[in-house]
Amino acid sequence: MTGLTTKFLEKLCFNVFKESCLVYFVINKLGKITQWGGNLSDLNISEPGEDDPITDTAIFMEGILPLKGESMEFSCIKMPNNSCVDALLFKIEIGYGLIIWDATKKDHYLTETQQKCNELSLLIEKQKNRLVHFPDKRSEMENETILEDLFQALNFAVLEMDNNGHFVLIGTPPKWIEQIPQSNQILLGHSYEEDVFTFLGNFIQTAKDLWSKNHQGSYKSGVWIEKDQTDQEFLFEATAVDIQGRKLLIISHDRCQPNEKQSIIQKGRDLALNYHKLKRSDQKLKSMHDELELRVKERTKDIEEANRKLANELKERKKVEKEREEVSQQLRQSQKMEAIGTLAGGIAHDFNNILSAIIGFSELSIYEIKEDSTLKPKLEKILHASGRAKDLVQQILTFSRQTELEKRPLKLKLIVLEVLNLLRASLPAFIDIKKDLKSNGYILADQTQIHQVIMNLCTNAWHAMKENGGTLKVGLKEIDIKNESISAKNKLAIGQYLELTIKDTGCGMPPEIIERIFDPYFTTKETDKGTGLGLSVVHGIISNCNGSITVDSQIGKGSLFKIYLPSFITSNRSKPNKEKTISLGNNEKILFVDDEPFQTEMAEQQLSQMGYRVIISNDSAHALNIFLDNKDDFDLIITDMIMPKMTGKTLSQKIHKIKPDIPIILCSGYSDDIDSDTIKKMGIAQYLMKPVGMNDLSRAVKDALQKKK
């Protein structure tokens, strides 16, 4: 080569390098630059000095020399000066040659794509011409040829699956096939195992699965990067498609451009990172879910506990409310009874006054008529009926509990009879009452309470027989409890007792009911039909009398209540019989005060009959004036209790203030008007309950006058 030629070539190379953004270095075996060329400034590479080590200019050369092979490529090297270069290092005689170029300007990679476009355009043109000139000669072969031409033009490799499930290359193979591993087998036309395109392994399996399910349409593998035999990176993408029953894998190929590669890798890695994050999120979510489940369980446990407490609280509250309702009902019952009592008291007061007149005038009439008068038996019947009316009033007062509780000797038989008489009027005819009252013995008890006990038990017996009727048997006898076991069983002291039995033939009670019948508020009756207090009160009254009550019952046969009450044995028993003779007066002067004119008129006649002088007054204030005017003339004052202007009590107090020793008899139609303590404190000589018969009146007057003396 002549010097001119060399100079020309150098100039040419300089220009080529300059325009191509290439630089070159000639490096000796010691790694020092001997020559260099190209436009270093475009690559931000500073110009080297003579004999400078290559590593000072191309930092990536550190440690690379000496080169083992013939050459070495560097791809996408980002230098500290921010330039991105590709490089090729190769051995030369004197040492090494190094070419560096800008990796960001790989415009020539576009050429292949442009080529494909051009070839495709040509193919379309060729096909158009065929259709114009040979419209009737379209055959499968032609289609096949066109398809293969198309694949070739597009630079596609097309594999078709044979009957054995292997893939065979069809048509003219693209040139790039030669670059991939196992290209020899492919080009020789062998049927290919799936691992020829190793990167398609999973994709081929998926495609086969889809085809086996008659999947229509195409299925893409996505972009993959592979290296060819020269380590050059390529992009691959496969499409699985079923065309008229032919199972095809169409594999496209392109050389890898840095920007594209960067983008693909970035996307792939972003996907991988996202997948990892997603997986972590899933795990975290699962962990949170588990924790949440645990918390929910914990919370539910608390709620369950709270619910249980709440349920108990509600149950307790309902119980309390029920009790309150029962107490309220009991209170209403008490108030009702109190109202009835008040009403009964009021009626009794007026009724007793009326009875007083009936009895009084009847008695006066009997005294006035002759012994053989036909009127006498008639008047005596009026008196007898009045006596029953008086008893009835007393019973009403007793029933409405308007009498004082006072234990006194009672002839139990009489109370039983009284109750049965009352009941007989109330009970329907299909309830038969049988009585077997063998004892005339006494007990020490409050009459009202015993009345209540018998009434209560008999009423229960009636209720038990309400549906089908039956017999109420009431028995009374004296028993002597000597046996200690019987005594202990009935919780009674050894001694004499009266045994009162009340038996019905009603529905009876099961054992679980019997166990509870004496419990307060326990009732088997409908709401508003019973308070559940009856038998508990009975039990309390009997116990208070040192007695005992037992029950025996059988379902469908009836119940038997036995009451044991201690016999009252004393010589001081109250004798009910009283003298029926009228005590006569000795012309003593009596002031009789009552606001009812018939009372004063009757008393005037009665007392006059008895031999007394009587001054009457229907006005208490006027009566006081009468007394003041003649205070030493009167021997006795008889006054009604309830009067307008001034009560009998006040009148008595005022009279006693003036004349303390004068005896006063107070009369009342109602026992609640005044109590016995007050009577004693006031120094009242006698207290008479209306209606007062002549016998009682004469005896009371006599007694009071005798006390004065």
Partner: protein, 164 residues
Amino acid sequence: MKKKICMLGAFAVGKTSLVERYVHSIFSDKYHTTVGVKIEKMQTAIGEEIVDLIIWDLHGEDEFQHVQLSYLKGSSGLIYVADGTRKSTLATALNLKEIAEKTIGKVPFILVLNKMDLQDQWEIDDLTLKDIEDKGIIVVQTSAKTGDEVKHTFQLLTKKMLDK
């Protein structure tokens, strides 16, 4: 004195971030994959010895691209980087260690577990760590984000390279 160091590891473990933190004291949360190689230069001193470190930040290893083993040529030290929040990256790092030793022989190296600022997402347990350390591998936990232990890692490797 110049020493070439290569950063190796799975993708997105923070190799570039560690280099950026060490060389430029900067950090970015945004992931930008490295295609090819990024070369940085950093001067350091071990005692009185001044060392110019040529740091090769190689692209990450994954199914898309493998590490160009020829790039390891001339390396005086290697840093294998794993992401503590992705256990699989530890296996990749250890696998790369095997490959690198076969390619260029044994050179000083350090195994870095990066992203220690994300302890709440940590996936590598103490037992695994102990197993690795029992094999004589130096493990340093770093955070390119906070800078924790980053400088120390490079210093340590430099010292090991000088001591060799």
